[in-house]
Symmetry: C2
Subunit: 459 residues, 2 copies
């Protein structure tokens, strides 16, 4: 471990936080085209920071969508492995804005947490890596391993162009292993390495009835109400036991072994009631909430709209109704096939008198599982345990990181999912935050891990 690098991070903590704040202040929302300039600003920020640190071949790659920031460091020597570090600089929309206690793009520290959109997902965690690289360069004049940096701007909208880039520039991005910090610990201060992620797929369902909103008194009784038709369709897809009732949905899903159930039972997970405010958890019949979130497929409606939403009443039969749905998938489920099953189901149950259009999500991902005994993962766990002073645990999680599937598919290298977020970070929600403690100990972990990687390969 580099004591100088550690000292540097400690001595420059205030400046580092300041530098992170200027990154978080950029509203780089990828899903909304009004933020195109901010996306470019965030990419520019990364380009200049990487150049400052001393990376080479720093560039913004034109992906056809938002730019991908690439950089290399090759001076660690040919006997030292090369890591592909992946992260993303785009963030989720901040709405509903009125629920934020401080401005989403004006970072604020309260009770040991840094509040801002992207503080945890993923700008904060990307920044920790860059700060650690800076610390090594400034104190030792070099990095302990070779690095390829790949920070994209389209993670929150499906990483479509990243997939093309990783396939087309295989030579440029190839490495000995990959490290991604875009996930979290099961509890604050509980080192956690993910060995499994869910895949996902999604659709938008558009139901159209009359060609304009109708007076409900004049036409009620003559036409099918699109919102009611949509409600019938949605209600037919998951029952009150939280079982997905789309034919074939569970085909090929590997049963949860007793061993894995035991592993999940032993994970000190978050208290869902207190972190979400629900009166009681609900989960798929036959499975606990922890089992369902970590290892069973899910089906969620992400949004719905149709007809009048304003103040007061408007006695209409709406012309259209729309729902956005996504499924999280486990090993054994193919996203393409699931999309086909969803679409077939929707058309099968759609009632007469309305037309139903199913728009597939352009991108989707298969689930991912890795062997926890892999040496690179063991080293990450060791560093993590030392930095946090607590034994690292291995878990599967419900989130989806498409790039993980693609790196495995295209490069077939080990992927280390080393995340420092916590269950209270409120990712994708108002009041997203990241604990400063994770910031410090996470950087500590990374300083140790890179030294470990270096030392091992010298022996």
């Amino acid at each position: 471990m580099s004591k100088q690098a550690m000292q540097y991070l400690s001595d420059n903590r205030a400046q580092m936080l300041e530098k992170l704040n200027s990154f978080l202040k950029i509203p780089s929302v990828s899903t909304d085209s009004v933020h195109k300039k901010d996306i470019n600003k965030a990419a520019d920020y990364l380009e200049s920071y990487l150049s400052e640190i001393g990376f080479e071949k720093v560039e913004q790659q034109d992906t056809g969508g938002h730019p991908l920031v690439y950089a290399e460091y090759n001076k660690a020597g040919s006997d030292v492995p090369t890591v592909l570090f992946y992260g993303h600089y785009d963030v989720q929309p901040a709405d509903p804005l009125e629920e934020w206690k401080s401005e989403p793009f004006t970072p604020e520290i309260r009770d040991g947490r840094l509040y801002a959109r992207g503080a945890s997902d993923d700008k904060g965690q990307v920044f920790m890596h860059l700060a650690v690289f800076e610390a090594y360069m400034k104190t030792e004049g070099k990095l302990p391993l070779n690095v390829k940096v790949c920070i994209e701007g389209e993670e929150e909208i499906g990483s479509e162009n990243l997939y093309k880039t990783l396939r087309e520039k295989k030579e440029q991005f190839n490495a000995d292993f990959a490290v991604i910090s875009d996930s979290g610990m099961v509890a604050e201060n509980q080192p956690t390495i993910l060995y499994g992620l869910k895949g996902f797929t999604g659709s938008e369902i558009n139901v159209t009835g009359p060609d304009h909103d109708l007076h409900s008194g004049m036409y009620g009784g003559a036409v099918r109400n699109p919102v009611m038709a949509l409600s019938h369709i949605l209600a037919s897809m998951k029952n009150e036991d939280e079982v997905v009732t789309v034919e074939g949905f569970y085909d090929g899903v590997e049963p949860l072994s007793d061993d894995e159930r035991e592993l999940i039972r032993n994970v000190q997970g978050e208290d869902f009631e207190s972190s979400t405010g629900v009166s009681e958890t609900v989960s798929e019949k036959g499975y606990t909430a922890k089992e369902h979130t970590m290892a069973r497929p899910t089906f969620e409606i992400n949004g719905i709209y149709g007809g009048y939403q304003g103040e007061g009443t408007k006695t209409i039969i709406p012309s259209t109704a729309t729902a956005k749905i996504t499924c999280r998938l486990v090993p054994g489920q193919d996203p393409e096939r699931i999309q086909e099953l969803l679409e077939a189901h929707i058309h099968k149950v759609a009632p007469a008198g309305v037309s139903v259009d199913v728009k597939k999500e352009k991108l989707s991902a298969k689930a991912y599982k890795v062997e926890p005994e892999n040496a690179l993962i063991k080293k990450a766990a060791k560093s993590y345990t030392e930095a946090f002073g607590k034994e690292t645990i291995y878990v599967r999680m419900g989130g989806s990181i498409p790039v993980v599937e693609w790196i495995e598919e295209i490069y077939n290298i080990p992927i280390v999912l080393l995340g420092f977020g916590t269950p209270d970070d409120r990712l994708h929600s108002p009041n997203e935050s990241f604990p400063l403690d994770s910031f410090d100990k996470g950087m500590d972990t990374l300083v140790r891990y890179w030294s470990e990687i270096n030392s091992k390969d010298k022996h």
Copy 2:
């Protein structure tokens, strides 16, 4: 019939249309508080027009909500009956604005129709009455009957304050009969008198799950999705046969007699497919679309919303979901009881893990049916037939006019529903319009009707 009054309307047609346009230009949307000034402007317009015509006691009554415009004319003599003329100057919101071919509050004539929000419902029809009163005063120096004018500004939001006013100022508003032109003909140029209207009641259903939007990967499988819960609730309320499945909903509904079915069958109704653009009509099992719209109760979802509605995807479990519903009722159904049944049903089927709140519509109305053989109705039909050159028919309709129920309840006087709208008017929708032909013949009808009323009572 007054030939001079008819001639006056014909000679001054352009000026009359101009005067109507200034009324239609005022965006007097009652449901939205940003339009409060416009509401007052519309009331001012009526106040000065009524004074100009020569009405007495012209005033804007403070109802606690939007003002009610009142005026009297008592000089027709005590041997002539007094009519209570009711109308409303408020309009529905114009959204979605992008679907209007011309600006909603910039009236435009195209193909013999006047396009504007309120052209038919109800400013256009209110104006016809005032124009006819003006014509009588300008040509004969008096009106053929005594008149009490009651034009309110809260019809589109439930007329809550009107109900109080009608009860509290019983002496002031009492009359021998009432005339309302806030309805339409079953087909263009087909004189139609309504002898039955539906009642209505409504609720807003609010479903709350987690206290903030959650990441669907982290929490999918642990909490109930409020949009899915709402879909299950809504789907349980009306089945695919368009039968309302709320227990007790149809209790007390009088069966449709063979005579009435025959009457409905013989009404040349509109072609629902072509006027609404649906591929096929759907209606309650066992009833035709005409029977269902005219004489059977209905249940409609007027709007729904929850979660992400923007561009792209946002993989969240929404915190809340809301639906607005209204039912149209027939004789035998009590609005209060129906509200209770809806609420009980919703709470009964609401799944665990979410909290459900049902907000009742403050106001509701019973259905209304009158005897078509009433002498005042027969006279209206005679005038209507003469003006349009076609036999008047009597129909029941699906719309609800709460004031009709209240006038019956409080004053117990005959109510003549004399409407000149047409099925193509697109009430409550973008591109609302009113045929100029209805405008001319409708005023012709009114000139004839007031003379009829006068002559009969002299005999």
